[in-house]
């Protein structure tokens, strides 16, 4: 779906994107995670042919970008850095204009398609108010509706849940998951870890312009070879396991052990009461923190 090769973009002295090899496969729910200023937006813009790479190649939907981006764009729905709307027009008029501005999408079923898109994003009941009177969340939904107008094969969304309340975020997440189930590949970027954790099947992590990590979410969250044990008798466990307990936090212990089942059997055999037991998995947060260095908007003193 999306393949980039050694993608570099420099603005003057600043390198915004540095040697990115992105690989998004068909059917993915791909989350591009990275702090603000890590080059996500620039990368997204390059994918859409808005910004031109300094070096490297891009292929989207099997088409080289930016050379033949026009063949790919009709099959892509996108939202880049917040929705752009004509503030003096109402939502429906905005969608109509956008739809009429480009190729494809016949006049005949335009009304129907707009109605459907609005319904999907939960704006079926919008009135004649101009967009400038909309709340941030409504605009965000409208932008999403614009991206969905043409039933795209690929959705490229930059920070899609910006400005939405928790319920809205959940609705959008469900919408995207539904679309994905219907066969749409979803590529979204976010600086919110939880969002990507909750939605995506595949994750790429950007840091200072580099793609430092790219893998299946499941693989990233592999077991660590440790087991978390909750017990009212931690002293006994420590005595029993002698040296394999790596960490103690009140009644919670972290034990180095390959198999939680065996450990459980062992503890029960020793007559130790266990209140909780499970394999430790890495959280996405840990993964990201390991992969990235420091927050890019933090300015270190050079003493």
């Amino acid at each position: 779906m999306i393949t980039t090769n050694g993608l570099v973009k420099t603005y003057g002295q600043v390198t915004a994107v540095d040697g990115v090899d992105l690989a998004v496969r068909e059917g993915d729910r791909y989350g591009l995670l990275g702090p603000n200023g890590s080059g996500k937006t620039t990368l997204v813009r390059m994918l859409l042919g808005l910004v031109f790479a300094t070096r490297g190649t891009i292929e989207v939907l099997g088409v080289p970008v930016p050379k033949r981006v026009h063949d790919a764009l009709p099959r892509i729905g996108a939202m880049v850095e917040g929705p752009g709307m004509y503030p003096h027009l109402n939502g429906r008029a905005n969608l109509t204009l956008m739809d009429a501005a480009g190729p494809g999408g016949g006049r005949a079923d335009r009304k129907r398609r707009i109605g459907e898109a609005l319904e999907r994003v939960g704006l079926a009941g919008i009135d004649k108010r101009p967009v400038k009177a909309y709340s941030l969340g409504m605009r965000q939904r409208l932008g999403l509706a614009a991206a969905l107008l043409r039933r795209p094969q690929l959705l490229i969304l930059d920070e899609p849940t910006n400005g939405l309340d928790p319920r809205g975020i959940r609705e959008i997440r469900e919408l995207l998951a539904g679309l994905n189930a219907e066969g749409t590949t979803v590529f979204l970027s976010s600086h919110l870890l939880g969002e990507i954790d909750a939605l995506c099947t595949r994750v790429g992590v950007m840091d200072r312009g580099r793609l430092v990590l790219q893998d299946e979410l499941a693989a990233l969250r592999a077991e660590t070879g440790r087991v978390l044990v909750g017990t009212p008798e931690p002293e006994r466990v420590i005595a029993l396991l002698d040296g394999r307990v790596e960490q103690r936090d009140g009644e919670r212990l972290t034990v180095r052990h390959p198999d939680p089942g065996d450990l459980n059997a062992e503890l029960i055999k020793a007559g130790i009461r266990v209140t909780a037991l499970g394999a430790e998995r890495r959280t996405l947060e840990q993964v990201v923190l390991e992969a990235t260095t420091t927050s890019s908007d933090r300015v270190e003193g050079s003493s």
Binding site: K9, T10, Y11, G12, F52, A53, T54, T57, P66
Partner: protein, 370 residues
């Protein structure tokens, strides 16, 4: 320019296309300007001169422009004369023959048209929204813008410079015509004119450009040329004045006739500043020309109410001349020299002559009034 990107190549190609277009478009006027001047036409100067002088019967229509660079103050009541010498005049000309022609002087959103039609002159002024008919031929008159149209101007200059020798100069392309040129150098030391260059269509003799260069000057200070000209006979409708039934008739068309009509004061003296008076027109006592060829000058005697303002203006910009019987001032512009004398009446003297000549005239006029 932006830093290089994967599309830099395209960008460069596009800019190159644009720059090439700019280059081509810019070079068009330059190339047209550098187009080699026509090979020196081998027309014999005497023949060319004769052809030009005899060109009055040639019909033509075109667009002419004259520009004068003389630093002249505008003289009240005489702006029609001073303006062409100190600014640019755009004219549309339709000329069938000596007695039927039309000249439009165009200025911004107005125009002033002069028609010569069936023995009388019609003047349409858009500013006044009035058509005026001038009955009868005027024996002597003030210059008018129609005199600046190259053929008329050149013929007049040629007749004034009848005694001066002409030498061929390089040809020139004027309004699409490969014109042959002549240079007239006045012999008289009294004139401020260094030389007059005229160009004409070598085959028909229709003059297309005239340039007057003053002594000590490098560039011509007065130029009149066609910007476009066709040697075809204009439409009869075009040279017919509009709405003949709604016309205001006058027999006093310009200042000169108005003054002369008063018939006061005696005849101007037969000699002034050592120069002979040329013409003597019956009834015209307050104006006369003196001198020969291009060194001629005109003397006007004006009643106070016409002349005072003009005198003041010239005295402001010109140099005072001491006189026994009045005040005088000479304004020298390099080409045109104007003298104003205020005694009992006001005299205006003008010509392409050296200031020294007019100082002598001033002295004579001062004596005359005493």
């Amino acid at each position: 320019m932006q830093p290089s990107t994967v599309v830099s190549g395209q960008a460069w190609r596009r800019w190159v296309v644009v720059i090439v277009i700019v280059g081509v478009l810019c070079s068009v006027p330059i190339v047209l300007g550098l187009r080699p001047a026509p090979a020196a036409t081998t027309a014999d100067p005497a023949t060319l001169r004769a052809r030009m002088a005899a060109s009055a019967g040639l019909a033509f229509q075109g667009y002419a422009q004259s520009s004068g660079l003389l630093p002249l103050p505008s003289l009240p009541n005489l702006t029609e004369i001073t303006r062409p010498l100190s600014s640019r005049t755009e004219m549309r000309v339709w000329y069938a023959d000596r007695d039927s022609w039309r000249v439009d002087v165009i200025d911004g959103a107005t125009e002033r048209d002069t028609y010569q039609y069936r023995g009388s002159q019609f003047i349409w002024d858009f500013g006044d929204t009035r058509l005026t008919q001038v009955i009868g031929e005027q024996p002597v008159r003030l210059p008018r813008p129609a005199d600046l149209v190259p053929p008329d101007l050149v013929r007049r200059l040629l007749s004034l410079a009848a005694g001066d020798r002409a030498e061929p100069i390089t040809g020139k392309r004027v309004a699409g015509i490969d014109a042959a040129g002549l240079r007239l150098r006045p012999v008289s030391p009294d004139t401020t004119i260094d030389h007059v260059d005229v160009w004409a269509d070598p085959s028909s003799g229709l003059p297309v450009q005239a340039e007057v260069t003053a002594k000590g000057g490098e560039r011509p200070v007065f130029t009149s040329r066609f910007l476009s000209v066709e040697m075809t006979r204009p439409d009869a409708k075009t040279i017919t004045p509009p709405s003949l039934d709604d016309v205001q008739v006058t027999d006093a068309p310009d200042l000169l006739s108005q003054i002369s009509a008063r018939r006061r004061g005696g005849q101007l003296p037969a000699t002034l500043g050592g120069e002979q008076r040329n013409t003597e027109v019956a009834g015209l006592t307050s104006a006369g020309t003196y001198g020969d060829g291009l060194a001629q000058f005109v003397v006007l005697r004006l009643p106070g109410r016409f002349g005072n303002e003009a005198y003041d203006r010239i005295a402001t910009y010109g140099a005072d001349v001491h006189l026994d019987g009045g005040h005088g001032a000479v304004l020298a512009t390099g080409l045109l020299t104007i003298l104003a004398v205020r005694a009992e009446r006001i005299y205006l003297v003008a010509g392409f002559v050296q200031p020294a000549v007019l100082r002598r005239v001033a002295a004579d006029l001062g004596r005359l009034e005493r």
